[in-house]
């Protein structure tokens, strides 16, 4: 190989920019998180505290912009996309240049990437507290920002792959594999989960509804954790950890195995966020089983990290960087052990909807992401500014206070989650009633909530020290870009034709095996067993072939690493299979036409307006709308006399977005609505009547002094957007919700909405004991009716009274097996099994 050398200067300015942005946004994101944590302990933190701070100048029970439902999305988006996002970009820009031995392809693209990303974050920080949201977790940003994210991500992708194409290092190092997986998969996840139909510049409906939206959301949500918070950080670990330890990576072949298995298996595990819900059983089963299979691949990453430190453990005593890395990787191992555990359906029955989940994500977010970030910052800063770390003592202190903070945080959330989960499932000795009211369980875990805030406060304090340390380090040196001489090898790599990269023994064996496994899931009885048999045969054949000549497969992978394009395509295929195998069958099978039993009633225009307010206020951050197929859930939230009163998938099938929720800080609301009030064809009354809601939204402490729900006083002033309703209904119609639009004209919609609003307002302000409003003490009841019929509180009450309304549809005849629906094969094979068909009435 003849080589010539070239002198290149790395673009380290971009790395410095991203790093500083990450620290700045990290501080903000964590501070918002801390505020959110205190809001669960003291409802006054939703804005009332300003009264004390301003010595009474500010008056009111809360500030809309500061309510928990709006701030929590700001916290999650800020720490995920702003803190970890910028950190990841810093790490990727730094290491990719060095692993490719060339400067990033385009300085202009780097600049656009940086400033575009910061603008996106800024716009998120404004729109989220203002209540502009899509109502899906970690996918809250409104559609114009979604478009901007996609464009900027594409800029990043082009810049990255262009750099790969220009590289002066023939072979791709394992860190780059993980970066490739990150870029490809995040693109796929983000685009699909953000497909929406705009109704205005600031509002849109997701194109999927009900369980399909739930499925797509958690395919995205789970894999955002995988491919935004895990794979890029694993890549960063593979570069920075051996550098800092000055030790070779533990095992190259472990890298290969755990990389490919991680990328392939992770994607399937999304439904474990929806266990015991109305999601069809086969998907729940895949979610659980793939989560268990994911344990080993995840631990592969941890082993490669920790075992690389073998022979360097003594350095941990002196080097804060290695302390952070070692602890970070350990937390990764802990979180990825806990993950599969929580994905086991009976365990999940206890943990889901409680703070155990919150503890779980924070052992990953604080321990893995936060500590890996800190380690990387402390390693980078002296190199980027050509100086020494300003204070090693301070970095050490950051480590210890951060570690204590995480342990307090995670420990208290375990305690809170398990306590609440057990209490919610506890029956009285009589065996027929629940022992605890929901609020009692909330009150019980208040000490844990306070400890959580303390733990989070410790962590934030440590991070402030980190920020100071990095700033002082930067000030003590000056920004210098590394200049190195590199060998420019002869271009013998990137020559493999794509078709050759894909058609060879290892790839074909594996793809055929996976195809057969998918057929096993979906083929009708007996054909599926044949597919399984064939899959086993193929697997044996592959093993035999491999054993016969391991070098052949070895060489192939080696060659793949010299050809980034076929490698990238294969990563894309591996990552695309799991989602396709779940989402496409569900889109085909789980439609309203196939629903047996309960089918959702459509929202009236006013109820729809109210639902959009519910979404906009972020109610889903505390309230679920999903009664799981679990005894305590059905007993607590189901109606008396209905033995099958768990949530059925048809009940929310027209919900864009779905609102099943992921945690219960308040009770489930799936049965909050009810039947039409006698003599009305619009107004409904559910578990509680209109007046109850009127008092409760104003001051939740009225109903129960231990409630930590914010006051929603601002909804009594804000006006309902009647004008937007026709375009919203039209959009939903286009998405398949069977509104009789355009037969229903704009005027009809407006008239109907106002009629229902008047009716609800009258039920509040007329009659023997009308409610009053302290904002209008002298108003007559007619004035109050007129004023409030246009206000958001009425629309929201209309929606609350509708939640869960359905009618029965029953197709006669035996259960027919449906293609692509494994559950229907099972049902069809046992005709007596009428699990979801019959409504048993008991006790009436």
């Amino acid at each position: 190989m003849t080589t010539n050398t070239r002198t290149i200067t790395y673009d380290d300015a971009s790395v410095r920019r991203f790093m500083i942005a990450s620290i700045a946004w990290g501080l903000i994101g964590m501070l918002v998180g801390l505020i959110c944590a205190t809001q669960l302990s003291w409802w006054q933190m939703n804005g009332k505290f300003l009264e004390t701070l301003t010595f009474g100048l500010f008056k009111g029970d809360g500030v809309a912009y500061l309510t928990f439902g709006r701030l929590r999305p700001l916290h999650t988006n800020a720490v995920i996309f702003a803190f970890v996002g910028n950190m990841m970009f810093a790490g990727i820009y730094y290491s990719t240049q060095r692993l490719c031995k060339c400067r990033t392809a385009s300085d202009i693209l780097s600049i656009i990437h940086f400033w575009g990303w910061q603008l996106i974050i800024l716009s998120a920080a404004i729109t989220l507290p203002a209540g502009f949201t899509r109502g899906k977790e970690y996918a809250e940003l409104i559609w114009p920002i979604n478009v901007a994210v996609a464009v900027i991500w594409l800029v990043f992708a082009v810049n990255f792959f262009w750099t790969l194409a220009k590289r002066n290092e023939p072979s791709l190092y394992v860190a780059l594999w993980f970066y490739i997986a990150t870029i490809l998969t995040v693109t796929m996840l983000y685009v699909v989960n953000h497909l929406s139909l705009p109704t205005s510049l600031l509002h849109s409906y997701p194109i999927f509804g009900g369980l399909q939206d739930a499925l797509v959301q958690w395919w995205y949500g789970h894999n955002a954790v995988a491919f935004f918070l895990t794979t890029p950080i694993l890549g960063i670990m593979y570069y920075f950890l051996p550098k800092a330890a000055n030790r070779p990576v533990y095992s190259y072949r472990l890298s290969i195995i755990h990389f490919w298995s991680l990328v392939f298996i992770y994607i399937w595990a999304g439904p474990h966020h929806l266990l015991n819900t109305a999601l069809p059983h086969w998907m729940q089963m895949l979610g659980m089983l793939f989560s268990l299979m994911l344990w080993a691949p995840s631990w592969g990453g941890m082993l490669n990290g920790l075992f690389t430190l073998r022979g360097a453990w003594d350095k941990l005593r002196t080097d804060p960087v290695l302390k952070f890395f070692a602890a970070g990787v350990t937390f990764y191992g802990m979180a990825t052990f806990e993950g599969p555990l929580l994905a086991i359906r009976p365990v999940n029955a206890l943990s889901h909807y409680t703070d155990w989940t919150i503890g779980h994500v924070h052992s990953g977010a604080l321990g893995w992401n936060g500590f890996m970030a800190a380690g990387m910052f402390y390693w980078l800063a002296p190199r980027l500014w050509k100086t020494k770390l300003w204070s090693k003592t301070m970095a050490d202190f950051h480590f210890w206070i951060g570690l204590v903070g995480i342990l307090i945080y995670v420990g208290s959330m375990w305690a809170a989650g398990i306590t609440q989960g057990l209490m919610l499932g506890t029956l009285n000795p009589d065996g027929i009633s629940m022992k605890y009211e929901f609020v009692e369980t909330l009150k019980k875990i208040q000490p844990e909530y306070i400890f959580r805030s303390i733990g989070g406060g410790f962590f934030l304090f440590g991070f402030i020290l980190c920020a100071i340390n990095i700033v002082m380090t930067a000030r003590s040196g000056k920004p210098v870009d590394d200049t190195v001489e590199v060998n420019v090898p002869e271009k013998t790599y990137d020559r493999l034709a794509l078709s050759k990269g894909l058609t060879n023994d290892p790839v074909l064996h594996i793809l055929i095996f996976i195809l057969l496994i998918c057929l096993w899931f979906f083929l009708p009885p007996h054909a599926d067993k044949a597919a399984l048999g064939l899959a086993v045969i193929i697997a044996i054949k592959a093993i035999v072939d491999f054993k016969k000549d391991p070098k052949k497969w070895d060489d192939w992978h080696e060659r793949l690493l010299h050809n980034y394009l076929p490698f990238t395509v294969l990563v894309g295929i591996a990552a695309a299979i799991g989602g396709s195998a779940q989402i496409i069958p569900s889109l085909i099978v789980n439609t309203d036409k196939n629903v047996e039993g309960r089918l959702q009633e459509l929202y009236t225009p006013l109820e729809l307006a109210g639902r959009d307010i519910y979404v906009s206020e972020g109610c889903y951050n505390c309230h679920s709308q999903m009664i799981r197929t679990l005894k305590p859930d059905v007993m607590r939230y189901g109606r008396a006399g209905h033995s099958d009163d768990y949530s059925h998938l048809g009940e929310s099938i027209y919900d864009h977005p779905f609102q099943w929720g992921s945690k219960r800080t308040g009770p489930d609301l799936a049965r909050e609505g009810g039947d039409l009030v006698k003599g009305s064809d619009l107004m409904r009354s559910g578990k509680r009547d209109n007046k109850w809601h009127w008092f409760h939204f104003r001051n939740p402490r009225w109903a129960n002094e231990d409630s930590n729900m914010p006051s929603y006083a601002h909804l009594y002033e804000a006006k309902t957007d009647f004008k937007a309703l026709p375009s919203k209904i039209k959009a939903l119609r286009n998405l398949g919700v069977p509104y009789p639009y355009p037969a229903m004209t704009k005027d009809d919609i407006d008239e109907k909405a106002r009629e229902q609003a008047m009716e609800i307002a009258k039920s509040l302000f007329e009659g023997g004991t009308p409610v009053s409003y302290d904002g209008m003490p002298k108003a007559t009841s007619a004035e109050l009716v007129n004023t409030f019929s246009e206000r958001q509180i009425i629309a929201l009450i209309a929606y609350i009274q509708k939640i869960g309304a359905y009618h029965e549809v029953n197709h006669d005849g035996p259960v027919e097996p449906k293609t692509l629906d494994p559950d229907s094969y099972r049902r069809a094979s046992t005709p007596t099994d009428a699990d979801s068909k019959k409504t048993t009435q008991i006790g009436n």
Partner: protein, 215 residues
């Protein structure tokens, strides 16, 4: 740090590591980073294999044998059993509970009244008021609450002790307009018959005259 002999470098890594049972340091370096090529830990491989095996076994058991109930079947059976127990408990309570025993046995029992008051305070005061007047007082001003007053001497749905019990147990009757449209939920869904009886006793104890008791 590279301490591999030149001989190692010529041997292919996979075969070499297996046959010699030694650790190989791969010769290629990426920006100064080297890689060992350790064999995969056996326990790690086994966790992967066991999980894969379990996937096949679990799927087959569920979809081929029908030996595991569906979630819906399971929970429905559990709830049916609860409903039956509830019906039985109600029946048993009603066997000894009637207008007379309520007044002679339940109301005079301080333990019953205390339990009833606890339940009432936790669940009923929002609508009926702490003083049962269905009003709340804020800054000296009185505001009506959604519920009916329970101290005004009027018993809209019947003035016998068991009328009250039935009302609390089953909620506002389906054919009633409710109180200015407001309807009470069926507390029997949440509470056992005994608890409902205790709350009933508590309400009666606050209105002794209406039920012919001395104060």
């Amino acid at each position: 740090m590279s301490d591999t002999s030149p001989e190692d470098k010529q041997v292919r890594r996979g075969n070499y590591a297996q046959s010699k049972n030694e650790i190989v340091l791969r010769e290629h370096e990426y920006d100064g980073i080297q890689e060992f090529d350790q064999k995969l830990p056996n326990w790690w491989l086994f966790t992967l294999y066991i999980a894969i095996g379990w996937t096949v076994v679990h799927w087959c058991i569920y979809y081929y044998t029908n030996s595991i109930q569906t979630d819906q079947q399971r929970v429905q059976a559990e709830i049916v059993s609860v409903e039956q127990q509830k019906a039985k408990a109600l029946e048993e309570t009603l066997r000894t509970l009637n207008d007379e025993t309520m007044l002679t046995k339940w109301v005079p029992d301080p333990a019953v009244i205390a339990a009833g008051e606890t339940t009432f305070t936790a669940n009923c005061v929002a609508c009926h008021g702490a003083d049962l007047s269905a009003t709340m007082t804020v800054d000296g001003k009185s505001y009506p609450l959604p519920g009916l007053s329970l101290v005004d001497g009027q018993w809209k749905y019947g003035s016998k002790p068991m009328d009250l019990f039935k009302l609390i147990n089953e909620g506002t009757p389906a054919d009633s307009e409710g109180h200015n449209g407001a309807r009470m939920q069926a507390w029997g869904q949440v509470f056992s018959p005994k608890t409902v009886a205790e709350v009933t006793a508590y309400v009666i104890s606050r209105n002794p005259k209406d039920f012919g008791l001395s104060e």
